[in-house]
Amino acid sequence: MSLTESPEIISAQPDSKTRRYDRQLRLWASSGQTLLEESRILVLSSSATSTSILKNLVLPGIGHFTILDDAITSAADAGNNFFLEGPSSIGKRRASEAVRLLAELNDSVTGEAVTSTPVASVVSSLNFLSKFTLIITHNLPPSQLQTLSDTLWSSPTAPALLAVSSSGFFAEFFIQHHPHPIIESHTETPPSLRIRDPFPALLEHSKSLKLSELDPTEHAHIPYIPILIHARSLVPHDPKTQEEKNAFKTLILSLKFKQDEENFDEAHAQAYRVWTPTSLPSSLTQDIFPHLDTKLAPPAIPGIMHALLTALRRFTEREPHVLPVSPGLPDMKASTETYIHLQRMYKDQFNSDKEMFKSLIPPNPGEIPDDLIETFIRNAHGVQVFVGEQWGAFDKDVNRVGEALVVSPKDTSVHLALRAVREALENSGASEGASANVSAEEIKMHIVGMLPPDTELGEEIDKAIGEITRSPTADLPNTAAMLGGLVAQEAIKMITRQYVPQGGYCIVDCIDMRTGIVGL
């Protein structure tokens, strides 16, 4: 082949922006990157934790961030925050210093410091808050956080809130969001191969195989999908009992010409697909489809998303009650020709399912780009709507809190201690970051108030109280960095609408080095 001896080299090295973002584009692709670049983030603090979070959002390239904070850099701030310049920042506006040093990380990100507006004056301004994609807070006094949460909860189109709280080795965060549709959930469950409900072309192809007449090389390269469908035609009915299932597996192996035919071994390993029903995921049938006309009706979710989900519901209401075929085929032992042929069949079916799907889209929402429809169908098996509740709703229900303490005493104790310390600090009038003493009695009093009467507190509560009173206002560099990563990761998932964010309070215990979830 002369072509490969001296090929005419195609120079296709990507541009410098693609090269810069290469390692993350391999996760969320250009679709996720575009959403990231369009996002505007508001952070109501420039503490060490806040700047750590922002660092991990500026680096991958959000569009814009605003820090709203009227604090003056203290000696302690200058010691624990990497985005302040040591003693030379002391006495200056903390937010201005932080914005300047964060913006250095990425030229394509704009940053703004708002230092003259007190936080209290924006938490109730839906107008101001709605200019942003996501609002992040750190150790905001509970009364202000409640107002902010109420404001954002009041409008279905208001941005999501990521509320972060930390003291010493303990931390937690909570995402408050309106119904959040995720098309690309990157689920590890692969789409159905339709072995149990083969589409006509696949069924025809499999039936037409004369396995016993093939030459040995061809025989060893028939993909396991047609082998399974073929084998199914050899038994009177689908295997149900364990005995029938074992007999079916034996049947597959008996079709081998030679002992080492790996494609038949693969068919043997995948035999369960023959008797496992092609059921629709409950994330669709239970969590989405029944609610499309009620709590998921626009404006709860965007009109286009609603139209796509409606079309999907209609599609699955038709026989044989399956999702549109996904064009991706996993690798399997096969010759190039048989594999490409099979792949072509799935692609053709995908295209015809896509046309059917399109005809089922309700007329109202306007133009839906074709590539969005493709992406949606490709990922239909993993589509989710992430539905959450308002920040603090869990804590107002003493019974839920009481139950959580029984089920996961460690994590719930940390959560209660963190809630209590924020309350206590607000009551004492201590400003954020300044040293303050909080008594164990006071923390305990707040905790008791959040639990059903006469709840036995137990050892984990005592340990959590002991630890939280040790360092009530400490924003430790390592805890801040850990939160910086965890919170930014969740923020990226929310912004890109890819991967699945965490519901409930995510608890971080840096002593045992563990995380847990409370209030889900």
């Binding site: 390692r23 680096l59 000696a75 302690a76 190039t336 990563g485 990761q489 002593i511």
Partner: protein, 428 residues
């Protein structure tokens, strides 16, 4: 507080208010060994010396965290230079630094940003340094992307442990990430499970059967491997493929694309080509931040005794919610690095190798049959293969003391041993 090295004079009042809340008071679970107050602060800020291996995605984060935590004598080793694809997460580097050594640029940045911290860079390989070098540190933190380098430093630190010298035990804290997933672990050499103990937990990179690549390609990856594994050496002979050279990637991309067209396979792109041949692992700032923070937090707790430390493995999966799992990875008795038996033997200077072997096989407690013996690069006696047996056979009649100085280490392998036995020979 007054420091002995002059560095502490740069500590402005209130600098460590946050950390001092932890260092001034024990918590309910803090060990009694914790010296709250000046004692622990003096150790952390004026005495502790810590080594960071790797100044990449994890390394940049680790250096910043350690500096803010109050470690003031930090060393960093990295053999790489800065590439544009590092800039989405390695936040101590700017576009102007591309091409410069990571260790040097990172060290300078930290020293500029965090006053009073000394960061000593070394632009080179960890294997360049000897035991004496590693002996000087209290702790080692690793943020590496190479299995081989991790195995090396792990084995080096396990070998460093001398029961006579308490200072020789260096806690090794190891972090690693891949996309939204990562892990951090604490290794106390010879006490807990080591890196080698868990080698079988590693996901190995996908490898395709070579006959698939050659004859039945189905995926774009098969075409790319055909270009890199079969065509490159066939066409370019001994010229080494440099996966950092865009011209080489262009060549592979061109060849792979042509092959894909021939077989009607879709999906060969420049980026996929580069990803397959370089075995690129997705990497983002946030995951690195989590894992680096976990590592530094353990370093801080171990160095200060201010709280219990991780026992011994933390695993994070962030693709679906925040899932983590903390568990104790068990030490393996047959671990080639930290497992195996060790035996002190004091023998007469006249004892021959053959007599030593007889002594070993007669030892009831170790049940050894047909042992093979070596010491470093010296083969003392190998039972097989025949050529090596014949070459080493004359050694059987030699005195052990002719072959080995006193205190010499002998590696004994035999099919009856779980892995190996190490002998420390002294002469009566």
């Amino acid at each position: 507080m007054a420091g002995s090295n002059g560095i502490a004079s740069q500590d402005w009042a209130g600098r460590y208010d946050h950390i001092d809340q932890i260092l001034n008071t024990p918590g309910p679970r803090t060990s009694p060994a914790f010296m709250a107050g000046d004692g622990v602060k003096d150790f952390l800020r004026n005495q502790a010396k810590i080594l960071v291996i790797g100044a990449g995605g994890l390394g940049c984060e680790i250096l910043a965290n350690l500096a803010l935590t109050g470690f003031k004598d930090i060393h960093v080793i990295d053999m790489d230079t800065i590439d544009i694809s590092n800039l989405n997460r390695q936040f101590l580097f700017r576009p102007k630094d591309v091409g410069q050594p990571k260790a040097t640029v990172a060290a300078e940045f930290i020293m500029k940003r965090v006053p009073g911290i000394k960061v000593t860079p070394y632009f080179g390989k960890i294997q360049d340094k000897d035991d004496e070098y590693y002996m000087q540190f209290n702790l080692v933190i690793c943020g590496l992307d190479s299995v081989e380098a991790r195995r090396w430093i792990n084995a080096t630190l396990v070998n460093l442990v001398d029961p006579e010298n308490l200072e020789s035990l260096k806690p090794l804290i190891d972090g690693g990430t891949e996309g939204f997933k990562g892990q951090a672990r604490v290794i106390l050499p010879t006490i807990t499970s080591c890196y080698e103990c868990s080698l079988d937990m590693l996901n190995k990179p996908t490898a395709f059967p070579i006959c698939t690549i050659a004859n039945t390609p189905r995926l774009p990856e098969h075409c790319i491997e055909w270009a890199s594994v079969l065509e490159w050496p066939r066409v370019h002979r001994d010229k080494k493929m440099d996966t950092d050279d865009p011209d080489h990637i262009n060549w592979l991309y061109t060849v792979a694309s042509a092959r894909a067209r021939e077989f009607k396979i879709e999906g060969v792109t420049w980026s996929l080509t580069q990803g397959v041949v370089k075995n690129i692992i997705p990497a983002i700032a946030s995951t690195n931040a989590i894992i680096a923070a976990a590592c530094c937090n353990e370093a801080f707790k171990i160095a200060t005794s201010s709280a219990a430390f991780l026992n011994n493995y933390f695993m994070l999966i962030g693709t679906e919610g925040v899932y983590s799992y903390t568990f104790e990875h068990e030490k393996r008795d047959d671990c080639p690095v930290c497992g195996g038996e060790s035996l002190e033997m004091s023998i007469g200077p006249e004892i021959t190798v053959e007599e030593l072997i007889d002594m070993l096989t007669e030892k009831q407690d170790i049940q050894i049959k047909k042992p093979s013996l070596s010491s470093g690069s010296i083969q003392i006696y190998l039972q097989a293969p025949p050529q090596l047996e014949a070459i080493t056979r004359p050694n059987l009649q030699k005195k052990v003391s002719e072959l080995l100085p006193t205190g010499g280490e002998v590696t004994v392998t035999a099919s009856t041993l779980p892995f190996n036995l190490s002998l420390n020979i002294t002469y009566k």
